[in-house]
């Protein structure tokens, strides 16, 4: 059977376990969805190309790496964190200017200048000016606009009553309708002008401000990762992946760069050659739980950790719902000539030797 074999290394890598936040925990090998996503990105696929993968590999150590986490709060909070002005408010990044920093846990106020350290006085003044303007706009809306709205409402009601008592085909009816339209137009115009003024002078400017909190968080990082990935899909997709393999820059986080050692279309076999009775897997791998239960893959001492790994997904109600695959992560495994659905890949090494991989597509 034809498959694509990718051999790659990563100096460091992190394959995040879903939902972990403070200490982002890692899987020992990349889940299928991570590899599939990276390959699709490298090939610029816009829709899912179904594929089965076999992932095996090693790493030398697992370490915890601290980092400063920048958390932009849902809204601007006057009493906490760091007040910042973004360089580009459409982009959440570390490109911002610090305006002021709250010095205590509670009871601070950026606007009133209570227990804060101002980092940029000009921006601080701008922020306070915007907040003052917002108060003025609110006040204007509450007093002038609301009064106008009430007047319009009364007029519209009067006109409606008039219309009810008139003949629909009469000139008077037409005049009242025109008057009604005119009032509605004016009302709309006033609303739009207020909205426009508010947007241009306040909303647009204040949206550049954000509340930021920083905290110490951690990543679990795998060092010196070696991965052997086999891909089974249609010939066309295999070809595209092979052609675009050097576009594959990272697996895991965007900074977890990959170094592609080899990418080849290979012929897998199920036959045991040279009187070989069994084959032992050299690398840790994700193995299909069903195949282990069926004893197509034999575990040395029935151990390992079972994972329900993500593969492909559907968007349901704006959320990704993943198709889960039940696998065992283990290293002491082997296959024999009775094993079904499992393949052998023999790789010629540069130093002249060969290496056999047990390939279990999931």
């Amino acid at each position: 059977m034809k498959a694509l074999r990718i051999v790659l290394t990563q100096n460091k890598a992190h394959y995040r376990k879903e939902e972990s936040i403070t200490n982002k925990m890692t899987y020992p090998l990349p889940p299928f969805s991570t590899v599939i996503g990276a390959l699709h990105n490298a090939c610029k696929f816009k829709e899912y190309h179904p594929m089965d993968l076999s992932i095996q590999g090693t790493y030398s150590s697992l370490m915890k790496q601290p980092y400063t986490d920048y958390c932009f709060l849902n809204s601007i909070m006057d009493d906490r964190g760091i007040l910042v002005k973004m360089k580009n408010n459409n982009l959440i990044s570390v490109a911002f200017d610090k305006v002021a920093v709250a010095k205590k846990g509670m009871g601070n106020s950026f606007r009133k200048g209570i227990t804060i350290e101002i980092k940029n006085q000009d921006l601080m003044d701008e922020y306070r000016g915007l907040k003052d303007l917002n108060d003025e706009i609110s006040n204007f809306k509450r007093t002038r606009i609301d009064r106008l709205k009430k007047i319009f409402k009364v007029r519209k009601k009067t006109l409606l009553t008039k219309k009810k008592s008139m003949d629909k085909k009469s000139l008077g009816f037409k005049m009242v309708t025109l008057r009604e339209k005119e009032i509605k137009r004016k009302e709309k115009q006033i609303n739009e002008r207020v909205k426009e003024f508010e947007y241009n002078n306040y909303t647009k400017e204040i949206s550049k401000y954000n509340s930021l909190t920083t905290s110490l968080k951690y990543y679990e990082i795998l060092h010196n990762v070696n991965l052997i990935i086999h891909i089974k899909t249609d010939d066309e997709t295999l070809k595209i992946i092979k052609e675009n393999i050097y576009n594959l820059k990272s697996i895991g986080r965007s900074e977890d760069f990959v170094d592609i050692e080899q990418c080849e279309i290979v012929e897998l076999t199920q036959k045991f050659e040279n009187d070989l009775e069994y084959l032992i897997g050299e690398n840790s791998a994700y193995l299909d739980h069903e195949r282990i239960k069926e004893e197509d893959i034999i575990l040395k001492n029935k151990n390992g950790t079972k994972y329900f790994l993500n593969k492909d997904y559907e968007i349901v109600e704006n959320k990704r719902v993943f198709n889960k695959k039940v696998v065992i992560y283990t290293s002491g495994y082997s296959i024999d000539d009775k094993s079904e659905g499992i393949y052998i890949d023999t790789r010629e090494k540069e130093n002249g030797g060969t290496e056999n991989y047990i390939v279990n597509f999931i």
Partner: protein, 446 residues
């Protein structure tokens, strides 16, 4: 993962990740403890969700964490026979009064009430009346209890808007956008369930709490995490040693390729440990004498460092102990500990070889040759320590050459060091440590 099913039981749990594995262990302990029906296979656990009620849960908690429940201690004191009644009164009041007890839950419940030796029934009645609240509040706020594992505001609450586990939970109303795709909170995917309240029952009751996720079969998972023989016993205090070093004694807690979830009380997150075959082999070869040396308190300047933890982490991650040895070499007076660390380091480097003995023998010969000039030995030792800790490997080789010429003793390991210092660095450590003045470790036999 939870599934609603039809049939004799209406709920099925799969060990889809460590959180659900731990919940399964906790639920299984609860079902067994409350003598309720369930069905357990290799892959899932089935039970009736209605049989898990808040009241039953709290009563089970009271029994499981009996030692941490203050009101249980009062009950025990009232029920035990005391030769001196005054002592009992004193002990009970310690738990109830403001002066000595720091437990606010007990203070609130027993406000203005004092034990006088006669009002046993009154005290018991107050406990009975407030039992569930006492358990709830103690469990929720206990630093070794629920608080250690989950957000305390989530206890016995239905599905929240983020996972209730420490390090997973989040104030969505303030920080939800930052963890969502394109700052759209409707895309945020999480799993939370009231059954996660059972997670504290799956971990060991030790300061460093462990959960071994060997969920290949549920039977194996539940058996491993029963912790019966280890909680609150002498063995429990050395949970780390028991987990990793006692393999050969048949205390078969872990096997390789197993994920271990680890929680320190001082940290508000969980960590992962993966045990691999190579690490397991190294743990296997560490003997009791070495283990004893690792466990001894080690003071560096004004701090005590946890040698056992550092060594365990290094073995698990195949990281050499060079940095630790460098630090101890600079301290001086740690040669006994260093000698054991070097042996363990050698296992990490390549397994046991005879080269260590050669390095040791060369150093002994040099010490013999310079026995009338101990200051010279000390000077050479210091120069070697300085060079090796500064990673000046050429310097180390040079000093070895001078030493060999000066004493007319052949240093055989020098050849290995000249060829590849990095790979043979542990031989240099052995040589330097043996060369130094030996101070006997208390109780050490010659």
């Amino acid at each position: 993962m939870k599934e609603i099913i039809e049939g004799e039981f209406n709920t099925r749990l799969y060990p889809s990740d460590w959180r659900w594995s731990a919940a399964i262990v906790g639920v299984s302990k609860y079902l067994k403890g409350c003598d309720l029906g369930y069905n357990q296979t290799d892959d899932y656990l089935e039970f009736n969700i209605e049989e898990i009620t808040d009241e039953k849960y709290l009563i089970f908690t009271e029994g499981y964490f009996r030692d941490s429940m203050h009101h249980k201690k009062v009950e025990d004191l009232l029920e035990t026979t005391w030769s001196e009644e005054d002592q009992r009164i004193e002990k009970v009041n310690e738990k109830l009064s403001k002066n000595t007890s720091t437990n606010t839950i007990m203070l609130k419940t027993f406000k203005g009430i004092e034990y006088n030796g006669q009002n046993n029934m009154d005290i018991k009645e107050i406990i009975d009346r407030n039992r569930l609240k006492l358990i709830n509040d103690t469990f929720k706020g206990g630093r070794s209890l629920y608080y250690n594992f989950c957000n305390e505001n989530s206890l016995l609450k239905e599905d929240r808007n983020s996972c209730r586990i420490r390090g997973y939970s989040l104030d969505m109303s303030k920080k939800g956008k930052s963890v969502s795709y394109m700052r759209d909170t409707s895309t945020f995917v999480y799993s939370d369930d009231k059954l996660f309240d059972f997670i504290p029952f799956a971990f060991s009751k030790t300061r460093e709490a462990f959960f071994i996720n060997n969920n290949f079969t549920l039977e194996q998972l539940i058996k491993t995490n029963s912790w019966d023989s280890h909680d609150r016993t002498e063995a429990g205090k050395n949970m780390r040693s028991n987990l990793f070093y006692r393999v050969k004694e048949g205390v078969n807690f872990i096997d390789y390729d197993v994920e271990i979830i680890y929680k320190e009380r001082e940290k508000d997150y969980f960590e992962t440990i993966y045990v691999r075959e190579k690490a397991r082999k190294v743990f296997d070869k560490i003997n009791d004498k070495q283990l004893k040396a690792l466990r001894k308190p080690c003071k560096i300047k004004n701090d005590f460092i946890k040698i056992e933890k550092i060594v365990t982490d290094n073995i698990l991650n195949e990281v050499k102990l060079d940095d630790l040895i460098d630090m101890l070499l600079k301290e001086g007076n740690k040669s006994y500990l260093i000698s054991h660390l070097i042996k363990i380091n050698e296992l990490i480097y390549r397994g046991v070889t005879d080269k260590q003995k050669t390095a040791y023998a060369s150093a002994v010969q040099i010490r013999k040759a310079l026995k009338n000039n101990p200051n010279k030995v000390r000077a050479y030792e210091q120069r070697l320590i300085r060079a090796i800790t500064l990673k000046d490997y050429d310097g180390v080789c040079e000093i070895l050459l001078y030493l060999s010429i000066y004493t007319q003793v052949s240093i055989e390991v020098a050849i290995d060091l000249f060829e590849n210092f990095e790979d043979n660095k542990n031989l240099a450590y052995t040589f330097i440590n043996t060369l130094g003045e030996k101070k006997k470790f208390k109780g050490e036999q010659k």
